[in-house]
Amino acid sequence: MHELTIAELVQGLADKKFSSVELTQHYISRINQLDKKYNSFITVNEDEALNQAKQADQLRANGQANQFAGIPVAHKDIFCTKGIKTTCGSKMLANFVAPYESTVTEKFSQANFITLGKTNMDEFAMGSSNETSHFGSVCNPWDTKRVPGGSSGGSAAAVAAQLTPAATGTDTGGSIRQPAALCGITGIKPTYGRVSRWGMIAFASSLDQAGPMTRTAEDAALLLNVMSGFDCKDSTCVDQPVPDYTESLNQPLTGLRIGLPKEYFSAGIDSNVSKAIHAALDVYRQLGATIKEVSLPHTALSLPAYYVIAPAEASSNLSRFDGVRYGYRCETPENLEDLYKRSRGEGFGAEVKRRILVGTYALSAGYYDAYYIKAQKIRRLVKQDFTDVFNEVDVIMSPTAPTTAFNLGEKMDDPVAMYASDINTIAVNLAGLPAMSIPAGLVDGLPVGLQMIGNYFAEAKLLQVAHQFQQATDWHRQRPTALD
């Protein structure tokens, strides 16, 4: 059962090949059995999941079940869930049970999905390796000595290890795409504003966007149908009709124009990764696409600009964690200042504190123009680069990450090197564009992700382009050999 995609599970449930309780029980057993190795879940929602499954089976027995009733999913622990702990990977929120539901998880509940649990993540989504979690690192199912990527590392590992058919993730600078690439799964970050951010704990508000992490592009389309849409509770959510993302999946790619930004294939990209990507591009040629080199000249600047904007927003967004109304409070504070400083000093991990400090500095008197405003100007240049290129091509393709999964601990002492692993993913967030990562090969037994970037609200196009590839190849069906 754990080999099946969501599309197949929907069929299986409809055909009564198995019940939701059986399916849910199966996944819960797998999590209980196997997740010791990966640490991909922070909270397993065992009892409640089985209750939900019973209800879904009942609905089905009554002929009232909708398409997804009884399908299990896992949610990144950044989405607030009523009644289930939401930690955001932090000691600060280690015991936090939100009194409200995020719009994303609410939409899944309304569609009668089963919540298997909450997945591990880099603390407050700050990290590219899932090593900054207060609840311990997540291990890559392809090689448990390696990182799964981050920050949605728990979701990626859980899907790759087949502990859940799919999971939600969030992506501020590559946090869906990079772990999807490193764990050999499919993930899509939609256009900024496509999915509501209500109840999703903010890292950098102008960059954060939620999306599904799945085995296949088809599943991603199915789940994006569920997640997308206007929400009056989020001022930045876009009021625009949501198409059925599965509708165009089967259209051929004849005439598709693919652009390869030369800056995304430059120094720092592992040559074997590059080879795998070029092999994937050959598949696209065979599918009828034309490929040309393009240029996104401000790519190199997107990294420093991102590492000003994201920390600046984060420094402010995380000020609310002050030990007064909820969350961690230090023992026996001497006075108010001590309460603030120790609650935050002890409640946040090293990377979160580092980014808060960088962001505070970038916004402080005397540095605001040189850092924050400068970064926002570069942001416009980066966006303009994409606008120009989309006049010429339909989709931009590149490696998602410069390398395959690196070793646990390898970059923890060198934040700048860690940040550099985001070089191919962050410009997309600065511009607010939709982008995907799909499995496109293996290098030394480790997955390589192909990134595709689309124009604003071109999610359907991306999913179609990904699906057609997955019809022609079976990289997305590869499983870690160590599994089970």
């Binding site: 939401t86 420094s315 609310r320 008197a365």
Partner: protein
Amino acid sequence: MQWEAVIGLEVHVQLATKSKIFSGASTAFGAEPNTQACAVDLGLPGVLPVLNAEVVRMAVMFGLGIHAHINQTNIFARKNYFYPDLPKGYQTSQMDLPIVGKGYVDIPLDNGEMKRIGVTRAHLEEDAGKSLHEDFHGMTGIDLNRAGTPLLEIVSEPELCSAKEAVAYLKYIHGLIRYLGISDGNMAQGSMRCDANVSIRPKGETTLGTRAEIKNVNSFRFIEKAINFEIERQIDVLEAGGKVVQETRLYDSERDETRSMRGKEEANDYRYFPCPDLLPVVISDEDLRAIKEALPELPEQKRQRFMDKFKLSEYDATILTEERETAEYFEQVASQCGDAKLAANWMMGEIAARLNKNNLEITESPVPADRLAKLLSRLKDQTINGKGAKTAFEALWEGADDVDAVIEAKGLKQVTDTHAIAAIIDDIIAKHPEQVEQYKAADDAKRKKMIGFFVGQVMKASKGSANPGQVNQLLQQKLS
């Protein structure tokens, strides 16, 4: 040395919306602590703000009311600092592009002239909660009901020169916001709060002195006292050879002094930046026009109308139009009694004095407008004279509700019966032969002065009920 004061005011006005600026929690005053603080107001993780449309409309109304430039694209920014009554660790406010740009108001001075005061800007922001320092085992209690209440912060140019001018400016703003219906202006409940930036400089000097900011003064009386105290303090400091320190000071109304808030003196770095959870607010030409068209008559328009229609002086018209309720009261009295000058004199005399003495608003006056109008009508048609009107007013103020019944009961009706008055006059003439002799011997100019004596005697004898004009006329006839 002669000193002059330079004062700028920052006025915080709580906008009269039902719900908060960024959340659907109630803004009602006086609820149990934290019962009106929702997830957004509390800054729980993952919550997001959505702007209240009414707040935008009200701010634009204010801007139009002070002839200001409206920034049709304006931006919310975050002002970052830590304080327990500030749940998110930042206040959502406006910095670079406030909704209301430069404008001005005209205020009346004591000498009867008007002065134009520039308004630098007015911006929208959210209020903070309240810290309660009563003893919770040596801790401070935080009530976040007020957190997220919409405020309009109105910043004046440093163009006010005295505490009196500051009060006149504040009163104008207070009147304006109530005319517009955008705030109840209730200072006791904190709906209108004022910070004053005060500095002094030698008279004639053009550069500004170092200023002190007096925080959160919440009555017209206290703002006047606080500024006067602060001006005196700064003069004392400078004349003793000292320097004024740029600092925040708190006014203590019990001791009538300002004192330094040293605990908060730490230089703040608020790290303003555009709020990434909110998008630029754009006000369309169409919306702007609609708000303009729906504006009520503003104080200055009413002022002009009163000057034109009732022939009032600019100063009188300004005083009478400062508060909408006063203006409406006056207009009713003037229209019903048919004598605007008489109505204005009574408004600024008897009524103002009584209200002031009893610390009442015009809406709380025990004598409603129609009753005063009736009283003034009786004065005008000579049923009673001025003295009788005052006596009757006294009774009306104490609660009597029927003007004619009061006049009747107190015997205030003027005696207009010529025979009755003539009889009194004859009596007086008979009693004062010496004065009559003198009068007859005097020339016209002296006679005019001397006749007052006889009028007084006759009025006294009639117990004030005779018509003084009539008495005068008859006396002249009889003495000639």
